[in-house]
Symmetry: C2
Subunit: 369 residues, 2 copies
């Protein structure tokens, strides 16, 4: 299959950074929350090496914010997730699996507590806004649920702290992992969080007002010239090496958080009010019957998978692969897949039905990095 | 801006027809409901001429179905839309603007009544499933809300009836506009509706089970060889000429159905239960203050717009353009845009701020075709 072009329209929304992304030579996009998400600049491999050694600026405006605000905000946000938000403080970011009444994953956003009665939910690729609005309407909750004009810009890579500190000041260095601070840029206080969709370290800046997008992009590019800063984006290879899950790729509404290996983010017993609580209590006790694992697939470089690849042990299908990429650093095909309990032990030999034929593979204990 | 590539992954879902679409030489896609939607085969212009003279097969599997089934199904579906569904019969398809509690458009699907307690909602590009599930949960309604394995395949063009009759039999010719019949294919009864996203006439076949996708595609291609059947897709030029709206392009949650010129599909007074009823009653009486119009933009061919283009009358902005394409048949730029009441009269001269500079334009009485 030759790589197809993307037809762009208003429906595949531009971001506050789109003109800078275009000027930086973006080669490919995906569409995420009805918005453009840059995926390739030089090449996936070149972008990967650069991310692991330097610093990149990522247009992740597609991580749209849902603001939940009002007297019932805390109650409503707790309804969405089996993670216990009871002792969450303003200034914290929680990774929050969000589930429906069957315990099926609807999204896996970062939730930011902005105030006792105000949350931002930084969503993965589904219109979670509609689920939240539906619940709020049906239950007559006293909240406003909106998508504010807030667009995250991620700064990722080993030199990210240095770059962000140059623009926002030394207070950046004191921000702990999954915490945020309000720091000034052009007279406005922006949420600067130590978070991001890579394992190279970095920050996400919540650009509050589209007009600030280009000035902030430019300030970072100028400040980072000697750091070899470049435009980048979530990198397929690095995120699979890191075991970072992608909603819609590695998990869908079919899966519980426990199947996704997210049990540590579920305190289902104490998450009173979570709409998926009844459905998840049993799985929380007994554990899932299949779970996502990092997998090492032998042989030559495989092209990324566009649909599930069946996983076999002998004649039995015992799972599927959902994400794969050739890793230059590990000189193997790094992958993520859902594997049956019978075969998920580290070191288990399995076989993958790839478009290039059957391939030997091994289940790993942990992610690659 | 050079045309970028699309990065394909499991998240941009394949369809039951994807292998045939690839073999047919698809050149570009958009992403629609987290699924691939082919947009270009030969070229937008060549595809357009072919659509208007021959017959095409369109992979519109991305028009996902939401099935609402159970004792409260009729009540829930009426909650979604200001269209009065009171006298809808099984076998009918209704174009149904769907709105939230503020009267803002959430989607503009075709709703099919399959039985007294069973509806299919064939959705445009938003996760309407989540809104419906949220309402059903919050209101404790007795329904199941699911996305079944049903993928529409559209047959569009002046020779569509001939082609579909060759495969499904002469009963096809008796299907009235926006009605469907259950007709056999390979031993299964499929919904065959006279509908589709063009004004060239045609049908949408609801392929119930992915396994039937390739056999049906092949049967149609073989039966239509002498009709010059080809793969195609919703055509940007033809749909703008026809005034067919695109959710996310021409209208969003910001707009009421009345602003979209869909007042004739709203019987807000009698649509008891519609969650947007209170919000829409006033606009239903007084009319909207702006509305979508077909617009003729003078001068050379303009590239399709990727974001809203402001519309001016003198120094005042009085609207925006949301869709535009060069029409070979009308030798002008055909467009759709939202225009203030003060300037929406047919024949009004306006000016458009395009990326190519200011252009003279005229508001039209009706669509081009």
């Amino acid at each position: 299959m030759t790589t197809p072009f993307l037809s762009i329209s208003r429906r595949t929304r531009q971001t506050p950074f789109s003109r800078r992304v275009t000027a930086s030579g973006v080669k490919a996009y995906t569409v995420y929350n009805h918005m453009l998400l840059p995926t390739v600049f030089e090449s996936i491999e070149a972008d990967y090496h650069h991310l692991k050694t330097q610093v990149q600026i990522w247009d992740v405006a597609c991580e749209r914010q849902i603001e939940v605000r009002g007297p019932d905000a805390a109650r409503l946000v707790q309804m969405l997730t089996p993670r216990d938000l009871g002792d969450m403080d303003t200034g914290q970011c929680y990774y929050t699996p969000m589930v429906d009444e069957t315990g099926g994953m609807l999204n896996d956003p970062l939730t930011l507590k902005r105030a006792e009665d105000r949350y931002w939910i930084s969503v993965a690729d589904s219109d979670l806004l509609l689920w939240i609005k539906g619940l709020a309407y049906g239950l007559r909750l006293d909240v406003a649920v909106t998508e504010p004009d807030v667009s995250p810009l991620a700064i990722q890579g080993p030199k990210a702290e240095e770059l962000v500190a140059r623009v926002f000041g030394p207070a950046v260095r004191d921000i702990r992992f999954f915490r945020y601070a309000l720091l000034p840029f052009e007279g406005q206080q922006l949420v600067v969080a130590r978070s991001g969709y890579s394992k190279q370290g970095g920050f996400e800046i919540y650009v509050d007002g589209s007009d600030l997008g280009e000035p902030l992009w430019d300030a970072l590019m100028i400040a980072g010239r000697d750091l070899e800063v470049r435009a980048g984006g979530p990198n397929l290879i690095e995120r699979i090496e890191a075991g970072l899950l992608s909603y819609g790729n590695d998990m869908t509404r079919e899966n519980t958080p426990h199947e996704c290996g997210l049990g540590r983010f579920c305190q289902t017993r104490s998450a009173i009010g979570c709409v998926g609580r009844d459905a998840l209590l049993r799985v929380a006790t007994e554990g899932p019957v299949r779970q996502i694992r990092s997998i090492d697939i032998a042989g030559d470089a495989l092209a990324p998978c566009a649909e599930l690849w069946p996983v076999f042990a002998g004649a039995s299908q015992i799972g599927h692969i959902s994400s794969v990429a050739w890793s230059p650093d590990f000189t193997t095909n790094v992958a993520l897949g859902m594997i049956a309990r019978s075969h998920w032990q580290a070191g288990t030999a399995i076989e993958i039905a790839t478009p290039d034929g059957m391939r030997a593979a091994v289940v790993r204990e942990k992610s690659f990095i």
